[in-house]
Amino acid sequence: MQLYDTEVSSRLLLGTALYPSPAILADAVKHSGTQIVTVSLRREAAGGNSGQAFWSMVQELGVRVLPNTAGCFSVKEAVTTAHMAREVFGTNWIKLEVIGDSETLCPDPFGLVEAAGILAADGFEVFPYCTEDLVTAGKLLDVGCRVLMPWGAPIGTGLGLNNTYGLRTLRAHFPETTLIVDAGIGLPSHAARAMELGFDAILLNTAVARAGDPAGMARAFALAVEAGRAAYLADPMEPRDMASPSTPVFGKAVLR
């Protein structure tokens, strides 16, 4: 899978928040096989680099870090946080979140496009957290994004894919763009479903971090993502309404 100019093989990306301890996080990352983790900078950064101890632990995991701007509600905050992240982690990657509503954590499409444009012009490789809205997606690509991260459902809900029609349409409209379903995934079956629809990867956090056994759940998601991808590549059959026996009925031996 191509993420800007970087080639990665794992199609599962993990968030690093809400784990019971950094040791359990490390275990989950290992079992997920992920090559990319996202890290939130905003709260941890209060007072300069005071989150350094945690960030060092994350960097010791030996995976790429995709810093995010979680918790930013304005273009200015998001852009400032992105610059801070570039300095702290030494990467041009930024998962851009500009939140429009504090209850649903729904992205603010206007602020998102504006911030993405500013950051792309400044040399960032922007991974925008967006909805499945086609027009916003198009505008994000116009301002220089080459990866899009539509939500499955609101962050932390675990509801799965709320709008499969919208996600399928998005996939069909932008066949060449790397599309990562981010947020709302609760179960491995949700992840497999998104991969079957042809999405390139899955980003999730809560479903693994808040599981009773995060490492076990990380492995379950790794398997589901792999299964979903393989199914997509294998060109699934079309569903039909009437039964169609896989063994011919005619010519069957009549035993009685």
């Binding site: 019971p20 301890s21 950094p22 040791a23 209060a46 300069g48 350094q52 101890a53 945690f54």
Partner: protein, 337 residues
Amino acid sequence: MKITIIGAGVAGLTAATEFSERGFDVTLVDRGPGPGPQSCSWYAGGMLAPWCEGESAEEPVVRYGAGAIEWWRKRVPGVRRSGSLVLACSRDAGELTRFARRTGEHVTLDGDGIAELEPDLAGRFSRALHFTKEAHLDPRQALESLVQTLVAKNCKLRFETGAEDVSDTGEGIVVDARGFAARDALPDLRGVKGEMLVVRCRDITLSRPVRLLHPRFPVYIVPRDDNTFMIGATQIESEDHSRITARGMVDLLNAAYALHPAFAEAEILETGTDVRPAFADNLPRIRWRGDRIYVNGLFRHGFLLAPACAQMVAEKLADPDFQPEFMDEDYSERASA
């Protein structure tokens, strides 16, 4: 045997108490004038809630924490064993189900059951978990009470004395319980920021700690004397301990307000911020290097795990073959001899 303990937080004072009871010659050193805000235990909630903590903590926290309740009851006044109550707003009901599934030693209450335990919460919640065996104390009173007992037993307490004034070359053992300040010697120690409030609300009486579950910021409220309440605590991977953030305060107050709107009229008496010392698995470590034994990384479980840590160190001193569960380095003089 002579023992010098550095740090008058919960780890140091508990160790001093345990060693003094076992007949050691104890000296306690701390940079402050007494137990106080120089140690993060000062900002603790004082919940002795091992079964609740078991929701996300490793198993030893539950096992050793259960024993801590008796340890404190025998040594300090004011340990109240009325359990703790776990609630969620109706939109977060799933959190309560998950919490119940992952913890033990609780009974489920309906609205009437809640009202019977905490009349001021009548009609506000329809389901709760009551962890009947849990307890709580006022951490500041408890630490002060340990100091008084140590003074009465003629232990030497050297306050306003820095750790640098303690040398390892003298006779006896040094127990280093400096918390986060010991990172100079323990580089794998990290700080986890916590923020808390103390408020006074005359309209509400609670008899036990109440936890309000929330998917992102679970909050607890612990009743203290004179209609005051400790509201805590955020948990942020940051080592900043300058002051509380607006967001921390908003999250804490929102939770209090969700528990009961009368908290909107509460006076804010105090805000507190500090960092908890923690290792990667959030479990403590005992490390013996030469004449110095480090006890550290008690994370958010100081009052729950300090007694067990103190007992482990004391037993190790008595029996070099004893392998304490939290000990991951043993370079004692005797071990290397």
